[in-house]
Amino acid sequence: MKLFNKKNTLSMLAVLGVYAIAGLLINTGFIDSYIFLNIVLIGINIILAVSLNLITGFTGQFSLGHAAFMSIGAYAAGILTAKLDQPFWVGIAGAALFAAFAGIVIGIPTLRLKGDYLAIATLGFAEIVKIIGLNTEYIGGATGLNDIPRYTTWTWLYFCVAATVLLISNFIKSYKGRACIAIGEDEIAAEAMGVNTTYYKVLAFTLGAFFAGIAGALYANYFYFLKPDSFGFMKSIDILVIVVFGGMGSIKGSIIGAILLSVISLFLQGIPELRMVVYSLILFLIMVYRPQGIMGKSSLKFFRKRGVLYANHQGK
């Protein structure tokens, strides 16, 4: 348990190495703007998937509203950088904090809900956020928020992704993270061992939302333009699909899943009319043949066989 052991040093070098090499390729034009656009999308998806994994994969809180946290972050960053002329770091910090606050707001009331009911409440929350966005003049309503400065560079993107992955991995391997995993496994046992489940569920939502907010800021300041519709139900589903495809409760899985699914959807753009049809078939095949995901070994309690949840476990 040391900070500078061999493994840590090596992975630190690898992280910096990837950064430098890719940075060089981008600067010299080897990676053109089209490829870079897709790299940005992959990076944003990694942050979204890893942060949703904390909520759903590890803590077992089924959320269908992750895109709402992203949109709150995106709009916060958009307003801060475009309307208030703040620098990017203020935009990112504001995005993260606003989204985290939304995480608390949605976390507390929905604590009483479990499983599918929680999923639906988060879906409802996300729809409400979207509708409020559509009807708010200040941020452009349905026409959208324009002229956001393009601040998202390779450096910002890379270090935001790296920080998200590192901090969430650290968290998961701390006693607080173990408490979250324990809640996902067996809430009653976790409580009996002293875990304040209320606190940790809200914490998971808050942290997950915090990082989703950062993803939103990167998005806003790359695409100049925001529309509430971009953060609807389907976006939340897309993120969930990455998490499940990668493997619930596996950070590596979320990273690989984000990359693979982004690449798949890139290829599908070649067949615009059938894109969604083929995508739906791919989803279906994954769920039938690899429901535990790429990196998944076993599944958490809530996600086990349907019907077991309420079964009477009393063994006589």
Partner: protein, 294 residues
């Protein structure tokens, strides 16, 4: 007052549609604990079948309604056999994503075949309006049809569930799946019937909406599907009277909110009500509270 009467009629009509779709959601959930996201799309396909029958084959309203219901029932059973059966024993979340994939497949498959444009339903019902109690509030013939068809279907459903063998198996399975299986209830058959009945109701709702609003498109199932699901959850998912209650409640509130100037926020209100109801009653208005035994 007149305005209120008028909105009441509209609210009941919209509520009927939600209730019909919500019933399918709730029945399927009751049996296999699956949020069948593709259900709203069956309703869309029901509308298209009705459209094809009436515009190209010039079939009348009732035959179109019945044929559409039958075909949707078939489609529902087929979807269950092809898509949901393979994931029946897999995780809940995998099943949910499977349902979403089916939903996308139906939406975009339809879009590929019939194109994205909105189609206009032929006028099937006499365009006649009756004024209510000599006020300026009017009752459209279409409203009467919708309410009449909905109530008849609900009575048939009620009979099926409480008086027939299939209905009894359905209730047994939703009460305690393992015990029902031990008692020799054929799961596959029960599930198929559930999908058939639920999908038929969605198909009926599709035809009704087509005739009522006159326009249909391949994504028309998304929002009403979601709303009907919300209605089912408000009423207590898995509980059949709950779906009806939730459907009418939601239809009514939405109409009232729109009528009093909040039309931009009507969808938000639906979801806000959902969240409030769940917070007050985590299993919905009529849902049973099942606590895990320690």
């Amino acid at each position: 007052m007149e305005q209120l009467t008028q909105q009441f009629v509209n609210g009941v009509s919209l509520g009927s549609i939600y209730a019909l779709i919500a019933l399918g959601y709730t029945m399927v959930y009751g049996i296999i604990k699956l949020i069948n996201f593709a259900h709203g799309d069956i309703y869309m396909i029901g509308a298209y079948i009705g459209f094809a029958l009436t515009s190209f084959l010039h079939v009348g309203f009732f035959p179109a309604l019945i044929i559409s219901m039958l075909l949707c029932a078939l489609l529902g059973v087929l979807i269950e056999k092809v898509a949901y059966k393979p994931v029946r024993n897999s995780t809940r979340i995998a099943a949910l994503i499977t349902a979403i994939s089916v939903s996308l497949f139906l939406e975009y498959g339809m879009m590929y075949f019939v194109k994205a444009e909105t189609r206009t339903f032929p006028e099937l019902l006499p365009n006649k309006q009756i004024s209510i109690l000599n006020t300026s509030a009017v009752l459209d013939i279409k409203n009467i049809y919708i309410i009449f068809v909905t109530i008849s279907l609900m009575l048939v459903l009620q009979y099926t569930i409480y008086k027939t063998k299939v209905g009894k198996s359905m209730r047994a399975v939703s009460l305690d799946r393992d015990a029902a299986q031990l008692m020799g209830i054929d799961m596959n058959k029960t599930i198929s019937y559930t999908f058939a009945i639920g999908s038929a109701l969605a198909g009926a709702a599709g035809v009704l909406v087509g005739t009522y609003y006159n326009s249909i498109n391949p994504l028309m199932g998304v929002v009403p599907g979601l709303k009907a699901f919300v209605a089912a959850v408000i009423g207590g998912i898995g509980v059949i009277p709950g779906a009806v209650l939730g459907g009418f409640f939601l239809g009514m509130t939405e109409t009232m909110v729109s009528a009093f100037g909040g039309s931009l926020y009507k969808d938000a209100v639906a979801f806000a009500i959902l969240i409030l109801v769940l917070l007050a009653k985590p299993n919905g208005l009529l849902g049973r509270n099942i606590k895990e035994k320690v």
